[in-house]
């Protein structure tokens, strides 16, 4: 029977002793997932807003596509990116496979749909509320995009956190395109998978607890920052 308290103790001792391997893996995990979230937001926020506000042929198809791709299987995304970045593939010449860059690319592709789909819905609803007034003030649709994105900032932060959650939790994509190479492309989720395959279940569980604690910290920070900002608005 797996001893949860033993795993918890192991997790604690790893963190307190500032185990260098653990620190390295945590740093890389944060670097990959936070970078992916950043790029996904840069792409997804305007993409979602544009899908909400502009009229163009195929608009409804795009909405369905974005919503559907929120559930893209990470391992499939990893496979596709592998095929693209492999030396035998179209972008092999850049030599990006088995590097953190490849992992960031794969995770960005994974979470753009989440951010874009949620942004699209939020902005569409906001336009119903604000559209007439903004047009009356003389705002073109293009000019309205940054205005509405900023208006919706609290809701959009939640969408971005959803993206971060998905990125930091997935193992399928980063395993294939990263290769789980020690000291180079090993992140929390692939380290956990490795320890499971070695049968070291209590270490795997300990790492899992640390990963959850990491995710909690990121979300707690975001919540506090958002709460302070929100309070200022309502004061």
């Amino acid at each position: 029977m797996l001893d949860f308290s033993a795993a918890f103790g192991k997790a604690l001792s790893l963190v307190i002793s500032f185990d260098p391997d653990l620190a390295e893996i945590v740093a890389l995990s944060l670097r990959v997932s936070l970078s992916a979230v950043f790029f996904a937001a840069v792409i997804g926020l305007p993409l979602g807003a544009a899908a909400a506000l502009y009229r163009f042929p195929g608009r409804r198809a795009l909405t369905v596509l974005l919503n559907a791709f929120m559930g893209l299987p990470p391992v499939v995304v990893g496979l596709i990116v592998y095929l693209l970045l492999s030396r035998a593939g179209p972008f092999g010449v850049f030599g990006l496979l088995f590097t953190p860059t490849a992992m960031i690319i794969a995770q960005t592709l994974l979470i753009v749909p989440i951010i874009a789909a949620l942004t699209r819905q939020v902005i569409e609803d906001l336009w119903k509320e604000y559209g007439e007034q903004l047009r009356s003030l003389g705002a073109t649709v293009t000019r309205a995009v940054p205005t509405l994105l900023w208006e919706a900032r609290f809701t959009l932060v939640t969408a971005i956190l959803a993206g971060f959650g998905r990125a930091s939790a997935e193992v399928g994509a980063v395993m294939i395109v990263g290769g789980n190479i020690d000291h180079v492309t090993r992140v929390m989720t692939t380290a956990i998978a490795l320890e499971v395959s070695k049968g070291d279940l209590s270490l795997a569980l300990a790492l899992g607890m640390i990963l959850i604690a990491l995710s909690l910290s990121v979300n707690a920070t975001a919540y506090l920052v958002g709460d302070i900002a929100h309070r200022k608005q309502m004061a």
Partner: protein
């Protein structure tokens, strides 16, 4: 504490080695690679996946060196022009592990094929890799030798995990089933609940490893020079000695057998 014990490579040059999870999980690379890096300044990045995937990665030119344990596939790799030359590197052996209470009464037997037959007769749970890996193909050869063809659809006791060796061992442990594994993975494996060594063949059921350099003719970008250093080192006295020196719980896991 986590991962393998290789210190962070400070070297600028690196080569990519495609190998199998069972080899990496045993801890072998963590032991021998630092010696090579210290001597030559070349870091070796290990991508450890299933045998089939390792071959695919090497074939695509995403790795510089290939170490797997399936001779037929390795020879085809060279014949197809993707590899320069195949060398015997080292071997370990296959064993059967299973529930300590041994429902098929095979403990202590010295012939794995015969033990498999007893398992089939007793309809005792058996988990197969089911993933076309070297281990899996070997298992299938042994079933054929005793004229049994287990089918997971009709034989309730035969299960296929479709997974790596570690995952298969986890499954066998949870199901209290028998499974065939290489000794390296078994000795390094930590989830021994409900599993114990059942059968070791005499003479040992050899699991032969081969090393191949990916051809720079097919893949001009391959790091041919450092890869050559690496393969030469592995086959040299020093490399072979390092392989032989690797122990887990005092037991030697891999037996170097490069010919000169």
């Amino acid at each position: 504490m986590i991962g393998t014990a290789t210190p962070a490579p400070a070297a600028e040059t690196f080569i990519t080695l495609a190998s199998t999870t069972s080899t990496d999980n045993s801890g072998l690379y963590g032991f021998i690679l630092p010696k090579f890096t210290k001597k030559t300044g070349i870091a070796v990045r290990v991508v450890a996946v299933g045998t089939g995937q390792a071959l695919r990665i090497a074939r695509n030119g995403d790795a510089d060196v290939l170490i797997v344990h399936h001779k037929t596939s390795e020879e085809k790799f060279v014949a197809d022009g993707f590899g320069v030359k195949r060398f015997d590197l080292m071997y370990n052996d296959f064993i059967l592990v299973g529930p300590p209470d041994d429902p098929a009464a095979i403990k202590g037997m010295t012939d794995v094929a015969q033990a498999l037959r007893r398992i089939a007769q007793a309809a005792a749970y058996f988990v197969s890799r089911g993933d076309d890996s070297g281990t899996h193909k070997r298992e299938q050869e042994l079933w054929r030798r005793v004229n049994i063809a287990p089918d997971s659809r009709s034989d309730r006791w035969y299960r296929e995990s479709g997974n790596g060796m570690g995952a298969t061992l986890n499954t066998a442990s949870a199901m209290e089933a028998y499974t065939m594994t290489d000794r390296g993975t078994w000795l390094a494996f930590k989830n021994r609940a409900h599993l114990a060594l059942a059968v070791e063949q005499v003479p040992p059921l050899r699991n032969q490893y081969g090393v191949i350099r990916v051809s720079e003719k097919k893949h001009p970008h391959v790091k041919a020079q450092p890869a050559r250093h690496f393969v030469d080192w592995l086959l040299s006295d020093e490399g072979q000695k390092a392989i032989g020196a690797f122990r887990v719980n005092g037991i030697q896991l891999f037996h170097p057998n490069a010919s000169r």
